[in-house]
């Protein structure tokens, strides 16, 4: 891969670019979907491609392609230079510089921790059996589970190489996998759905029985749900819901949104933005983190960074461009969706600190309110500039400090900063959640939020 990336950089320079960077990746993926006790589909795929950034003076352009023949790479490199000619000048545009320090090693040991050999060792028959076990577990967990919409297992093994004309040359490999299922439960004349999921570096790390059990529990718990009355009250966000909000917060802490005045955190550096009970770090080196890698999407070493701590906003996330614009250095936060997308500022893994109370303790602390176990419409219900949100929710009531009847069809509304300031406690048990970002968080108790129901 690194040789292909070198050739792409040379091609862009030959086509007139002053500087260039190539991101080459190759991955092998597979996916199994099971339904009704049999395998519905089995997918195997390989993909290879290169994305090239070219700079001509202060203009930047990008091109990607999948034709990795000599001619194909030359053509794609020339398209990158051509794209740069269309862009306007931007005084902060330019290639990343090579790191002054060596890439850190993941988890203090070797980068081999990003690879799990079980991805290669488990045959398609083995992983199909795993998907079927997830479905079985969901069906067996509760007789009210009528069916499973789908049980899915997927994994990938990828190799990434980044090369730039400024001297960056880095390559790494990583494996990952996930399993999930959506259970359908029936009762009281209605149908309810529940999601169970797990993720890891390889299939050996997944617990199919636990994934199925979670889906069944989430679906059956909703049977007989009604609407809560509209009011302002304490709200507990379970870990999956908290993670969705934390992912939004991570996006809003990207320097790009901040510099362009499109973040609720713009102008709040060093200010009080949260209760002290809410602490979040970005950590691109956590060995268990799905988004961990030795370097970010433009070859800058990853690191651990406190974002919100002690109630105050400690840092924004920077890539090379936004760091130059702010007169600081990159935090290793260039994220990349693969060779088809240019790097942009983004969190790696967001880690929320745990507190002292388990879920029962949080409910007792809340006294009277609601637990939200699922939200819908986050992509349409949040104003990314102001952080104001109103999203659909379901969950259950808290009465006298204990879990009570299930609730559905209500909304919760607040804004991100007000919500963080209203955090009263973080739970003691955190989990990894991959929804809209990579987040490890416990449940959070919010002192007050608007709940709109009947």
């Amino acid at each position: 891969m690194i040789e292909l990336a070198r050739r792409a950089v040379e091609g862009a320079v030959a086509a007139g670019a002053g500087d260039a960077e190539a991101y080459a990746s190759e991955d092998a993926e597979r996916e199994v979907r099971a339904h009704g006790g049999s395998v519905e589909s089995l997918t195997a795929a390989t993909r290879r491609g290169i994305g090239v950034r070219a700079w001509i003076g202060k203009r930047a352009g990008y091109a990607y392609g999948t034709d990795l023949s000599d001619g194909g790479i030359r053509e794609l490199a020339a398209r990158a230079a051509e794209a740069a000619r269309i862009a306007d000048e931007d005084e902060f545009a330019g290639p990343p510089e090579p790191p002054v320090r060596r890439s850190p090693e993941i988890g203090g040991e070797s980068a081999a921790e990003l690879r799990d050999p079980s991805v290669g060792e488990w045959s398609s028959r083995d992983v199909a059996a795993l998907a079927l076990r997830i479905e079985e577990a969901a069906l067996a967990a509760d007789r009210r589970v009528a069916a499973v919409e789908q049980a899915v297992y997927a994994d990938s093994a990828e190799r990434v190489a980044i090369v730039s004309s400024t001297g960056i040359e880095v390559e790494y490999e990583r494996t990952s996998c996930y399993g999930y299922t959506q259970a359908l439960a029936e009762g009281e004349g209605a149908r309810e759905t529940g999601l169970g999921f797990g993720l890891g570096r390889g299939p050996a790390a997944l617990e199919p029985a636990e994934i199925g059990r979670e889906a069944a529990a989430r679906a059956t718990q909703m049977i007989g749900a009604g609407k809560p009355p509209s009011r302002a009250c304490p709200v507990v966000l379970d870990a999956t819901v908290a993670a969705s909000f934390v992912a939004l917060i991570g996006r809003a802490l990207g320097a790009d949104a901040v510099q362009r005045g499109r973040s609720p955190f713009a102008g709040l550096a060093g200010e009080a933005v949260a209760d002290e009970a809410f602490v979040v770090h970005d950590d691109g080196l956590d060995p268990a983190g799905p988004e961990s890698s030795p370097v970010d999407g433009e070859g800058t070493p990853r690191r651990r960074l406190a974002l919100i701590e002690g109630g105050a906003l400690r840092a924004f996330l920077y890539d090379t461009y936004t760091a130059r614009r702010a007169g600081t250095s990159s935090t290793g936060s260039a994220s990349r969706g693969g060779y088809r997308s240019q790097p942009s500022v983004g969190a790696s893994n967001l880690l929320v600190a745990t507190g002292a109370l388990d879920l029962d303790g949080l409910l007792a602390e809340a006294g009277d309110g609601v637990v939200v176990t699922d939200v819908a419409g986050l992509h349409s219900g949040v104003n990314s500039v102001t952080g104001a949100f109103s999203v659909g929710a379901s969950g259950f009531a808290i009465r006298g400090g204990e879990a009570a009847e299930p609730l559905r069809e209500f909304t919760i509304a607040s804004d991100l900063v007000s919500m963080l300031k209203a955090v009263r406690a973080a739970g003691s048990v955190a989990r990894w959640v991959p929804f809209g970002g990579s987040v490890r968080t416990p449940p959070l108790l919010i002192g007050e939020m608007t709940v709109a129901g009947s």
Partner: protein, 461 residues
């Protein structure tokens, strides 16, 4: 189009795919090229040129789909993909039928975007920028984007099909931000089609003014109401309501798994008789249109609700065969890297006979959702949620002050039955729909529609 794959090669690949047995094999080839650029802070940036080619091969055997995809369209790539797809199959080989090439008329494109100078595209964005910013001094930021893509596809299968399509789409979008003291509001608008650059001949700058106008209007917004009340939905992108709350539940894969509230309701009265709705992949040059779907089935107009009665689901080949009906041309996929699944194309509520003004005049106290930011539905339970991007109070039959941050929430079976007026106006809008990890372009449309009662989730309790 079918020059993407030579008939001789197609036959060889299909034979390889069926070498270990199977009832059906298919090869989907695609060559795509696109350009996107954006303007932000009045500067052209994020210029991106993409090109990809590849193929996906699937084999159906005893209820299981085996699928493999590769980058590249060399005959060797295709044979390799076929080999991978069939890797787990051990039965006696099956024989594909002789191929016959279908003649397909692609959607007419007058001005191929790739042949338009890049500078004209940059100029278009500069015009959007200046038009939007000149809407008012309170417009503080504006971003606009331009995207063009051409996808040539070929589909061949062991039933003897060899077909193809040549698809060109263009789309522009504007997001404006307006500020007044501490208040910040955004407004956005898009324009797109299965069309060439000619789409932008007729005043594209109007969408920038519209986006900025929405943001400016919302500066006067108060909190949204909370609770159940009559809701009037705007035309055009208001159709995303029907798309989400009903359209997804009509996709036959959900139905057949019992994961749709519409399962078992074919022929049932699911709406008032005043409502008729269609999915139509043939609407000329519409954003969600194609000449064939991604399994080679010609697209068509499918009536899904006739006078309130549910009359059809939306099928791909697989679900149609299971139900013993003809495929409806809804087998779509994001790219050669994805398996086709039943998807909507352009979905709309047909115009009714109510005047929009009269529909509002009949509401004493309610909510007017002029446009949505998007929505989401769980087809199995029918629960849905919509973010309102532009909403107003209705008081004493009149649209009064704008509201910020409203959400509509409900259950689709109840909400569809509660539609008590359909407007005579009509408009189509563009959207990008996600399902099973795949995004496809879809059109949504309707005139104004009134729902007798719906939960509005605001902060004004």
């Amino acid at each position: 189009m079918t020059e993407l794959i030579d008939p001789g090669v197609a036959e060889r690949v299909l034979r390889r795919a069926l070498a270990g047995g199977g009832e059906f094999a298919e090869v989907f080839c695609e060559r795509g090229a696109g350009l996107t650029l954006a303007i932000d802070e009045s500067r052209i940036e994020s210029v991106q040129s993409g090109a990809s080619a590849g193929a996906g091969v699937r084999v159906l055997s005893e209820g299981t789909t085996y699928f493999a995809h590769v980058d590249g369209l060399d005959p060797d790539d295709l044979v390799r993909a076929a080999g991978e797809a069939a890797a787990a199959l051990r039965a006696e080989s099956a024989e594909p039928r002789p191929l016959r090439a279908e003649a397909v008329e692609p959607q007419p494109i007058e001005l191929r975007p790739a042949e338009v100078a890049a500078e004209r595209k940059a100029e278009l964005l500069r015009e959007l920028d200046s038009r939007g910013r000149s809407a008012g001094p309170e417009v503080s930021e504006l971003t606009a984007s331009y995207a063009e893509v051409r996808r040539e596809v070929a589909v061949t299968n062991s039933d003897g099909l060899l077909s193809g399509d040549d698809r060109t789409r263009v789309r522009i979008g504007v997001q404006a931000v307006a500020r007044r003291e501490g208040e910040v509001q955004t407004g956005s608008e898009t324009l797109g089609g299965h069309r060439g650059f000619e789409l932008f001949e007729d005043d594209p700058g109007a969408i920038a003014e519209a986006a900025a106008g929405k943001a400016l209007t919302l500066l006067d917004a108060g909190p949204a109401p909370a609770g159940s009340m009559p809701v009037v939905i705007g035309g055009g992108f208001g159709g995303v309501l029907f798309h989400e709350m009903t359209g997804h539940g009509l996709e036959a894969d959900h139905v057949q798994k019992g994961a749709s509230v519409y399962a078992g309701r074919l022929g049932a009265q699911v709406a008032q008789p005043l409502l008729t709705a269609y999915d139509d992949g043939r609407m000329p040059n519409e954003w969600g249109s194609d000449s064939i779907d991604d399994e080679g089935t010609p697209t068509r107009q499918t009536m899904v609700i006739e006078d309130g009665r549910l009359v059809s689901f939306l099928h791909d080949r697989l679900t149609a065969a299971r139900d013993g009906v003809a495929p409806t041309g809804n087998g779509r996929r994001e790219s050669f890297r994805h398996l086709p699944v039943p998807r909507m194309t352009n979905t709309y509520i047909a115009p009714g006979d109510a005047e929009p003004e009269a529909m509002i005049a009949e509401v004493e106290k309610g909510f007017y959702a002029a446009s949505f930011a998007g929505g989401q539905v769980d087809p199995a339970t029918g629960d849905f949620v919509f973010g309102v991007s532009e909403g107003y109070l209705i008081e004493a039959g009149r649209v009064t002050r704008p509201c910020r941050g409203a959400t509509l929430i409900g259950n689709c079976l109840e909400a569809l039955l509660a539609i008590d007026a359909v407007g005579s106006d009509f408009e189509m809008k563009t959207g990008v729909c996600g399902k099973a990890g795949q995004k496809v372009p879809v059109g949504t449309g309707q005139g104004h529609v009134r729902v007798r009662a719906m939960t509005v989730g605001g902060t004004d309790v």
